[in-house]
């Protein structure tokens, strides 16, 4: 398996990697580098070295999952590189090969697929009041709890059209439009991509001996959604010096 060749099939990778001079400006500006043991400069030099084993190690690492994709690095790089684009390509490849389950942060892709990923196809929205439970979002405060408990009256007050036919805020997305989204997902590969995330997560749950089923409320979901080893600001996950 030649991972570099696979990465080079991704436009984001070729757009993101010109020739890095290792100045470190991206690391200076990076919000993730400030709070995690993360250095986008090292990610770029690793892929630039073209060492297949090092790239495989990267695909299995925690390091590729820290970036918040703010893309501040794109603005700042004096050579036109974008480490954030390289990260996007690495994350896609990590999931295609099933490597994402080998890291704590990578395993979280299952929770994202089960929430935002499925919301898109079921509702036509990335987020929706019905799918954003207050107990999973304590940071939203009592005002969100109030909104959800009084959602018909609250959205109606602001000329919303919650779950109803026609135009307007939070309207019900018609089945024909959801069907078109689903067809696009199938034809462009995200349908299969979701299946890989699901299947590899099931395997990982079995390996970790954590209950798993097709529902969102399984123990593996709860584990990957909430577990934090609190070791991401130190060197314990960075034995390869990423």
């Amino acid at each position: 398996m030649n991972y570099l060749e696979e990465l080079e099939q991704d436009i984001r990778f070729t757009e993101g990697l010109k020739a890095c001079l290792q100045c470190g400006v991206c690391s200076a500006i990076c919000p993730a580098a400030e709070f995690y043991n993360y250095d986008p400069r090292i990610i770029v030099i690793t892929v630039q070295e073209k060492n297949n084993q090092r790239i495989e190690d990267l695909l299995k690492s925690e390091a590729i999952w820290y970036c918040g994709q703010c893309m501040s690095c794109k603005t700042r790089c004096p050579r036109g590189n974008t480490p954030g684009f390289i990260i996007q390509a690495l994350r896609t490849l990590s999931q295609k090969h099933g490597f994402f389950t080998q890291s704590e942060k990578g395993r979280q892709q299952y929770a994202i697929k089960k929430t935002v990923g499925e919301n898109i196809l079921n509702k036509g929205y990335c987020i929706h009041p019905d799918l954003m439970e207050a107990e999973a979002h304590p940071e939203q405060g009592p005002i969100w709890d109030w909104i959800v408990k009084n959602k018909e009256a609250v959205y109606d007050k602001f000329n919303g059209n919650l779950d109803k036919e026609g135009a307007g805020t939070l309207r019900k997305i018609h089945k024909k439009n959801l069907d078109e989204l689903a067809q696009i997902f199938e034809i462009t590969g995200t349908g299969d991509f979701y299946n890989i995330i699901e299947q590899e997560s099931k395997k990982q749950a079995e390996a970790m001996n954590i209950q798993f089923d097709a529902s969102k409320k399984n123990d593996y979901f709860t584990h990957v959604y909430t577990y934090n080893s609190n070791t991401h600001s130190d060197d314990s996950h960075n034995e390869n010096n990423y």
């Binding site: 918040g68 603005t75 929430t115 036509g124 405060g141 009592p142 109030w146 805020t169 439009n177 078109e180």
Partner: protein, 371 residues
């Protein structure tokens, strides 16, 4: 003579710097269509700031007589899923192509996009197709196979704040309230937050670029306020996609917002004005969370710094009732700002339905004063 030469030299440097800055600013002007628009809604804005989207349409259609099409067939662009790496690049390109097809079917050529994440992605997709024409053909083929739809490329795309920016002087002429502190007679002090994906990826597509963004600053200044510069003005709000979506990662998101709050606190802003719906929500909710965790607020009165969307601010300037603008959907309350602007409001109508019937009041946080 020697002093004169030095003085002339310094003067020339200053003139050159001024010219350079002006040229830099000029290179980041863009054409903004503000009529006959296809409206692309935002997932986050619809959930958290529904009145803002309504107000944008209302102001353009009713106040200013513009044609804006609100299409029931529009869906999410999938941007949050894309930036959280569960949606593939080909997929989001095809979903955006579908939106262009809907615009084409409506006989329109210009898009106004309500979400900064979406705006960044529409921009990125158009940039990709311009530089990789074979990619555009592939996506046309995908879209046709999936939906039998075809599309024209838009003549222009704008973030909805660009549209308000382009109409700011017209709005100023209709203003019922200005950004002047009624108690002191001085301009209100605003910090603005543009949102990373507005111009950091493609600076030429944002008004003022990534370094001197003017889209919100222009509104604030046109309506009488003063823009406060502060060290972390350009720092990310901390959304970070997977760093918020997964509960275990939210420390990243809050820490980045905290960094901004600490940086702006010493400048004592009267309010925060935001461009991106996600940033609006995070800068509001992380103030609440930080207050709950350690009792800290970033104003002097335990109330927090009010966070407004630009549609909410536009509505206040035009004289709309604050409770019709949805300000009660924020966790940090905005009465302190309303008082400074001299806007009267009835506290009994804050938590009512459309017909004026009282709704149960939300629970008050422990530390964030709610009036």
């Amino acid at each position: 003579m020697y002093i004169l030469i030095i003085a002339i030299h310094i003067l020339m440097i200053l003139i050159m710097k001024t010219i350079t800055k002006k040229q830099s600013w000029n290179s980041y002007q863009k054409e903004i269509a503000n009529d006959n628009l296809y409206y692309a809604r935002s997932c986050i804005r619809q959930n958290f700031f529904p009145a803002s989207e309504h107000m944008f349409l209302h102001i353009l259609q009713k106040e200013l007589g513009k044609n804006v099409f609100d299409d029931p067939n529009h869906t999410t662009c999938t941007g949050i899923g894309y930036h959280a790496d569960v949606v593939l690049f080909d997929t989001i390109q095809t979903v955006i192509a579908r939106h262009f097809a809907l615009m084409t079917e409506a006989g329109l050529e210009h898009m106004a996009i309500s979400c900064v994440t979406s705006f960044g992605l529409y921009t990125e997709v158009l940039h990709t197709w311009e530089h990789y024409p074979e990619q555009l053909e592939k996506i046309r083929d995908f879209l046709y196979k999936a939906t039998k739809k075809e599309f024209n490329l838009p003549k222009s795309i704008a973030h909805t704040s660009d549209v308000i920016y382009s109409l700011r002087d017209e709005i100023a002429q209709k203003a019922q309230h200005t950004l002047i502190n009624k108690h002191t007679g001085k301009p209100l002090r605003a910090v603005e937050h543009i949102g990373c994906h507005y111009a950091k990826m493609f600076p030429s597509k944002g008004v003022g670029g990534a370094e001197f963004p003017q889209v919100l600053a222009g509104m604030i200044e046109s309506w009488g306020g003063e823009v406060v510069d502060y060290p972390e003005r350009r720092h990310c709000c901390g959304f970070g996609f997977r760093n918020y979506l997964v509960q275990a990662n939210r420390g990243y998101s809050m820490s980045n917002s905290k960094k901004k709050f600490e940086s702006m606190e010493v400048y004592k802003p009267d309010f925060i004005l935001t461009n991106c719906p996600g940033c609006s929500m995070f800068m509001d909710k992380w103030q609440y969370t930080i207050a709950e965790i350690d009792g800290k607020t970033y104003d002097s009165y335990g109330k927090g710094i009010p966070v407004l969307t630009y549609e909410e601010l536009t509505g206040l300037v035009l004289g709309y009732n604050p409770w019709d603008l949805g300000l009660q959907m924020h966790q940090v309350q905005s009465e302190s700002l309303l008082d400074k602007m001299g806007i009267s409001y009835d506290p009994h109508l804050k938590y009512t339905d459309k017909h004026g019937n009282q709704l149960p009041k939300p629970v008050s946080p422990l530390h964030l004063t709610q009036t």
